[in-house]
């Protein structure tokens, strides 16, 4: 994993959390303070792609000391492997957790997927697909086809998510998929709330 994913998302206008790439615990503490707490940290290492996400990621880091400690722990965990750095990123507040993905299909080309995210994504399978490119109208239809769309409409006292922003993000991902043509692609999770949506993690397989 490296930060090319985030750079690519930025290029297509998909919002990403504020982040810094650091090399040492000291830098990590400083970066976290500038970004604002809580932060998450991820090891940037090509060999970490095949490891479980958990080993390479530490979430909910609340202060500077914690940030330095977490960075040190990650560097120790992956010592002996090629490490490009540690990514420090802002952790958002609570929003709806979505998954937005892509897949190259032999007959139809790039497919775009939108689904309700979370750890049970592959069990509930509340996902919808479209063939790229999609229009804004297609995007709105995708959102309305989710079985759990009520989550986006403000369930349990939450504010409804900004569907306009979500639809725009989907159109942007469709453009990215058409241009970059990856074999598989995941934004997981994409956190959506009333102010917009942010791609918290991305995985691109060429």
């Amino acid at each position: 994993m490296d930060n090319t994913g985030f750079r690519l998302l930025s290029k297509y206008g998909i919002a990403i959390p504020e982040y810094r790439v650091v090399k040492t615990p000291r830098e990590a503490g400083e970066a976290a303070r500038k970004i604002g707490f809580p932060v998450a940290m991820k090891i940037l290492s090509p060999s970490a792609l095949h490891k479980s996400d958990k080993e390479g990621v530490i979430l909910e880091i609340g202060d500077r000391a914690g940030a330095e400690e977490a960075c040190g722990a990650l560097l120790r965990r992956f010592s002996g492997e090629k490490i490009e750095g540690v990514l420090v990123q802002r952790m958002g507040g609570g929003g709806a957790e979505l998954i937005v993905g892509g897949k190259r299909d032999a007959q139809f080309g790039q497919l775009l997927m939108l689904g309700i995210g979370g750890i049970f994504v592959e069990i509930y399978k509340d996902v919808v697909f479209r063939v790229c490119p999609i229009t804004k109208e297609d995007a709105c239809q995708m959102i309305s086809e989710l079985k759990a769309r009520k989550i986006l409409e403000g369930a349990r006292g939450r504010k409804p998510v900004d569907k306009e922003a979500l639809a725009s993000a989907l159109v942007s991902v469709s453009k990215l998929l058409e241009k970059e043509n990856p074999s598989e692609f995941d934004i997981n999770p994409l956190i959506a709330d009333e102010k917009g949506c942010v791609a918290v993690d991305v995985r691109i397989l060429r």
Binding site: G101, D105, Q107, F108, L111, R130, V131, E184, D186, L205
Partner: protein, 475 residues
């Protein structure tokens, strides 16, 4: 849409004035015999030329050694010779100027002989021949009695003339559907089993049928497509003018286990197809039963909205229908004052005049007539769900005529539900043969009606629908 030469030449396949049957046989159990017999017995009005190097006469028709021996022009040919002989007879077809060929013979790419199939395709393409097959079951045009389906008429029924054209990748599935359509009284414009699609593929057929005036509804059985993007863009254009109902076989998630991402594992083999059908506004059927449930409902005027008026002679069926309405996103029409007043006068005093309109178990044909006509005139009703339980003592066959006369007004669609055995089935067939779709349950009827209503809404965005009308063919 500018059509390519081979697509234009499909006209020779579906509506030829003359046809050569290459591999015609005198042996009654041979495919080459059955095809000649189907053309003769079916009443094909054009010229029929049996081709067989060893026969003088087949079924009373003079036989020729080669198509090149025929004096006049020949539009089309059916080839049912052994695979080694295909290339040379096809070459002769090209030299004769034959524009359409149905190649029944198998033994090509389906058994790994891709090179041989490539040679056949090259010959057809050299002459611009619209070649269907190889390894296909044939073509049916009920209106002009073109019938190269190699299954005997007494074994496989042929449907009446109608507006539904059916493209099938599978010969077996296609044959069963033709047989079932014939039995149910459903009309067909064209049927084609396209086999290995060496020259003419599903997209070419879609393109042809989009422009075919005999085709009002296109139904497709698909296992896979060669060019998904072309299919999507074609379908997108066609559905603006004609409904396309599709069933995609092969939903297994093969390949998904090899995925490395969440998206990869969630995108099974059928997801791309389902997405494409949605984007093209095609109507996807989940089962073979649904395929015809959906297709046949389109053979009438488009509904102007989603408000359903229900007429029933059985209260329970009305309740079931109301439940299904909600499930399908349709609305229960609020009957107008005029309808309510009229029905109060016509129904027994204990009847409850509301929608569903229960005209009670002792309803006779006359009571149905009053109710149907009232709903036809009622501006609050867009679709009439006509439930007729034929088991009651009071009902008789004349209710069928009443329904057909009402449907013939072409003001709004009627969807019939008749649940029962042989006596009921007989009446359903009559209704179907006059274009009133019939269903065995309110749920299946309303599922189809929901597809119809959604399509009508989409259609009206692209077409002038100020007065309700049948779907017009694409020009």
């Amino acid at each position: 849409m500018a059509l390519s030469k081979k697509v234009k030449n499909l006209r020779a396949v579906f509506n030829p004035d003359s046809i050569a049957i290459i591999g015609a046989s005198r042996e009654p159990n041979k495919i080459g015999h059955v095809i000649v017999k189907n053309f003769v017995d079916g009443g094909f009005a054009g010229k029929i030329y049996p081709i067989n190097p060893n026969a003088e006469e087949i079924l009373g028709l003079p036989s020729y050694k080669s198509v090149l021996d025929i004096k006049g022009e020949v539009d089309s040919a059916v080839i049912a010779v052994p695979e080694q002989a295909v290339a040379s007879v096809l070459e002769e077809c090209g030299r004769k100027g034959i524009r359409g060929v149905v190649l029944i013979t198998g033994g090509f790419s389906e058994v790994g002989k891709n090179e041989e199939e490539g040679k056949i395709a090259a010959i057809a393409n050299k002459y611009g021949i619209a070649l269907i097959g190889p390894n296909c079951m044939g073509v049916l045009t009920p209106a002009s009695r073109v019938d190269s389906v190699f299954l005997p008429i007494y074994k496989l029924g042929r449907p009446r003339v109608g507006g539904i054209s059916f493209i099938s990748q599978s010969g077996a599935v296609g044959g069963c559907i033709v047989d079932l359509a014939a039995r149910a009284g459903i009309g067909m414009g064209k049927f084609v089993s396209y086999g290995n699609a060496a020259v003419i593929d599903e997209c070419d057929l879609l393109e042809y049928l989009a422009n075919d005036e005999e085709t009002e509804i296109i139904v497709i059985y698909l296992e896979g497509v060669k060019d998904g993007r072309r299919m999507l863009s074609l379908m997108r254009e066609i559905t603006k003018k004609k409904p396309v109902v599709v069933i995609k076989a092969g939903r297994s998630a093969a390949g998904a286990e090899a995925a490395r991402s969440h998206t990869g594992s969630l995108a099974g083999a059928s997801e791309a197809y389902r997405a494409a059908f949605k984007q093209a506004n095609a109507i996807e059927a989940a089962t073979l039963e649904q395929l015809f449930d959906f297709a046949k409902i389109f053979d009438q005027v488009l509904p102007r909205g989603n408000r359903v008026g229900i007429i029933t002679n059985g209260g329970g069926m009305g309740v079931l229908a109301t439940d299904s309405l909600e499930d399908e996103g349709l609305a229960l029409a609020k009957l107008s004052d005029g309808t309510q007043k009229l029905m109060r006068l016509s129904l027994p005093p204990y009847a409850n005049v509301r929608n569903p309109l229960d005209i009670i178990g002792d309803a006779d044909s006359h009571r149905y007539e009053v109710a149907i006509n009232a709903m036809m005139k009622d501006d609050n009703v867009d679709v009439i769900l006509l439930i007729i339980l034929f088991q009651t003592a009071a009902i008789d066959s004349s209710v069928v005529n009443i329904a057909i006369r009402a449907s013939d007004q072409r003001k709004k669609p009627i969807v019939a539900v008749c649940t029962g055995g042989e006596y009921t089935e007989m009446h359903k067939r009559i209704l179907e043969s006059y274009g009133i779709p019939t269903y065995a349950s309110p749920s299946s009827a309303l599922r189809a009606a929901a597809k119809f209503v959604a399509y009508a809404e989409y259609y009206s965005k692209h077409n002038d629908t100020t007065c309700p009308k049948k779907i017009k063919t694409m020009k």
